[in-house]
């Protein structure tokens, strides 16, 4: 009992600097989850579809980028070319998958995205090969000492990138004509069509943006873990983040990531010994389950409006 309820707190208060280090490390690691979660939120917001293929898109973007760099392209050119590839992918997905399935229930579209996910996994690895590749785009990796606290420069960079990305997306969604149209489509396809919003264009835009977000996530995760198939599994970690933050909220994806990231690191380090370790792997899912019980729309998700 004391190992569970007393010792961890004793540790926390006796080594506050260490606690801070774990917490900051966790927060920044959480941002990495948020990057993946963002892609899900975008597509869910604009089409009500849970895009199972987001993880595969992250891998595909990273593979394409590394492939192009290995072919000798300078980094900036490779990034531009990869963005072009992701936009093309968005257009093909709209044409081949979404257009024929218009007006089908969300679950059908969800299953279609499972198909897209397998296709992308296979397609990317067929073209670029399946061995683990290192991605080097010049993100600093040496740690930074702030007072007594050790902070990873790489994670800091990731956090900054995510912050900028979120700010840009939030402005895009809230303030621009196209952003407003995206939210309108998310609420009511048919009504959006009736006021002259072209659904096809909107879908291409939203999948392109999700593709670009996937590329950013791919660069980050690829630099951290190397570009390999297991990046797809990172998408699974984005799931509790989404449940916590809400499927429809961009800030939610960030806050959810911070909570999951810091929560699992702190739990692992201070409560891990009492439970035999490896808490990190399931902590997020457990938290997500609690949320599903008490606040299913997440922290910032849109409430389902039902008027009687």
């Amino acid at each position: 009992m004391s190992a569970f309820f007393i010792d961890p707190f004793v540790d926390i208060f006796s080594y506050p600097a260490f606690f801070l280090e774990v917490l900051i490390g966790g927060l920044l690691a959480g941002v990495m989850y948020s990057l993946v979660a963002l892609g899900f939120v975008l597509i869910f917001k604009a089409s009500g579809v849970f895009n199972f293929a987001q993880g595969a898109m992250v891998l595909f973007a990273a593979l394409t980028l590394v492939g192009l760099i290995d072919l000798g392209a300078p980094v900036w050119l490779a990034i531009v070319a990869t963005i072009a590839v992701m936009v093309t992918l968005a257009m093909s997905i709209e044409k081949v998958v979404l257009r024929p399935l218009v007006n089908q229930p969300a679950i059908i579209l969800f299953m279609a995205t499972i198909g897209i996910s397998y296709f992308l996994d296979g397609f990317g690895q067929t073209i670029w090969g399946s061995e683990i590749k290192t991605l080097e785009v010049g993100i600093p990796k040496s740690p930074l000492m702030v007072g007594e606290v050790l902070i990873s420069r790489f994670d800091l960079f990731a956090g900054l990138t995510a912050g900028v990305l979120v700010a840009v997306l939030a402005i895009f969604f809230q303030k621009t004509r196209v952003g407003r149209a995206l939210r309108a489509v998310a609420d009511d396809h048919q009504a959006a069509m009736s006021v002259g919003i072209p659904l096809r264009t909107i879908w291409v835009i939203v999948w392109s943006v999700a593709g670009i977000v996937a590329l950013v996530a791919g660069i980050m995760w690829g630099s951290k873990l190397g570009v390999q198939f297991s990046i797809v599994l990172v998408a699974l970690k984005a799931l509790p983040v989404l449940i916590l933050g809400g499927f429809t909220s961009i800030p939610g994806a960030i806050v959810g990531g911070l909570i999951i990231g810091s929560g699992e690191k702190v739990a692992e380090v201070f409560w891990g010994p009492a439970l035999g370790g490896a808490i990190e792997d399931w902590f997020g899912y457990m938290l997500a389950m609690l949320f599903l019980l008490f606040r299913p729309q997440g922290l910032f998700g849109e409430k389902i409006i039902e008027r009687v």
Binding site: V102, N103, R177, R180, A181, R183, A184, A186, D187, D188, H189, Q190, A191, A192, M193, S194, V195, G196, I197, P198, L199, E302, I305, R307
Partner: protein, 282 residues
């Protein structure tokens, strides 16, 4: 009301001005099997208010969707006939093209964007506009002029506003596209009689002051015929009767079946078995 009215050529009235909208013998099939419209023809003169009347399932909404081309998203298809707007065929166009040309539909049941604020809802109507912010902002003020209540609620999420406010939002949203013609589907649905009157008053004012032409589908025959100048009555996917609002209102069958005014005044309970069975043209 007679069977002969069914397959007659497109009605000719007025003759002087070309119609703004002409629907010629349109047939609509849903899901490749369900025949919903069996050759509907109608005309709307520029600057007019025309009512499309009929019971549930008569094909009023389908007719409007066939015009605005929202049908395709519901797995419906126009298989015969044509739709002309301002002298040009428009039946192959997307809803987006039609809005750009000035035809916009206000769907049955309002269909506001629930999570957007009232003002954002209105602004989505300006999606197809290209004249810049100034003009759009002016139009927003104009819409608020017609619907002062919306200005008060501009920052509320549309999902939390009342039915009447949602109907106003939906109409205002359509106005933001600077339409020449609004296809208004069932504006009275689920609203209190007083509000229905208010909405129709606004329709009349928009018609008079902004020159917007209206084709409105309505179950509430009484009020529709008071505000419209011409009416078409649909039954089972066909136009069974059409005429000036005045003529329709005094038509015995219309009185009996749509206005609830029997010829013999109030019937005694004993006469019920002699009650005329409702005619159907199948």
């Amino acid at each position: 009301m007679s069977v002969e009215t069914v397959d007659r050529p497109a009605p000719e009235r007025g003759g002087a001005t070309a119609p703004l909208l002409a629907v010629n013998n349109v047939e609509v099939i849903y899901d490749h099997v369900i025949l919903v419209l069996k050759g509907v023809s109608l005309e709307v003169p520029p600057g007019g208010i025309v009512a499309l009347l009929g019971a549930n399932g008569a094909g009023k909404s389908t007719t409007l969707k066939a015009i605005s081309n929202l049908l395709r998203a519901e797995r419906g298809e126009v298989t015969k006939g044509s739709v002309q707007f301002d002298g040009e065929r428009v039946d192959g166009l997307t809803p987006n093209d039609l809005v750009t040309r000035g035809v916009i539909q206000v769907m049955e049941g309002r269909h506001c964007f629930e999570h957007l604020t009232v003002e954002e809802n209105l602004m989505t109507g300006a999606y197809t506009r290209r004249e810049g912010r100034r003009a759009v902002a002016d139009d927003l003020e104009k819409v608020y002029g017609y619907f002062p209540r919306l200005k008060e609620r501009r920052t509320s999420q549309a999902g939390y506003t009342s039915g009447g406010e949602q109907q106003m939002t939906a109409i205002g949203r359509a106005l933001m596209s600077r339409p020449r013609m609004i296809l208004l589907d069932e504006p009275s649905m689920g609203l209190a009689p007083q509000l229905v009157e208010e909405i129709f008053e606004i329709v009349r004012r928009l018609n008079e002051r902004e020159g917007v032409t209206f084709l409105l589908a309505e179950q509430n025959t009484n009020i529709a015929l008071r505000y419209a100048s011409y009416g078409y009555i649909l039954e089972n996917g066909r136009v069974v009767l059409d005429g000036d609002a005045e003529t329709l209102r005094s038509n015995e069958d219309v009185k009996e079946f749509y206005l609830g005014l029997g010829t013999a005044g109030r019937k005694s309970y004993r006469d019920v078995k002699f009650y005329k069975r409702r005619k159907r043209w199948l």
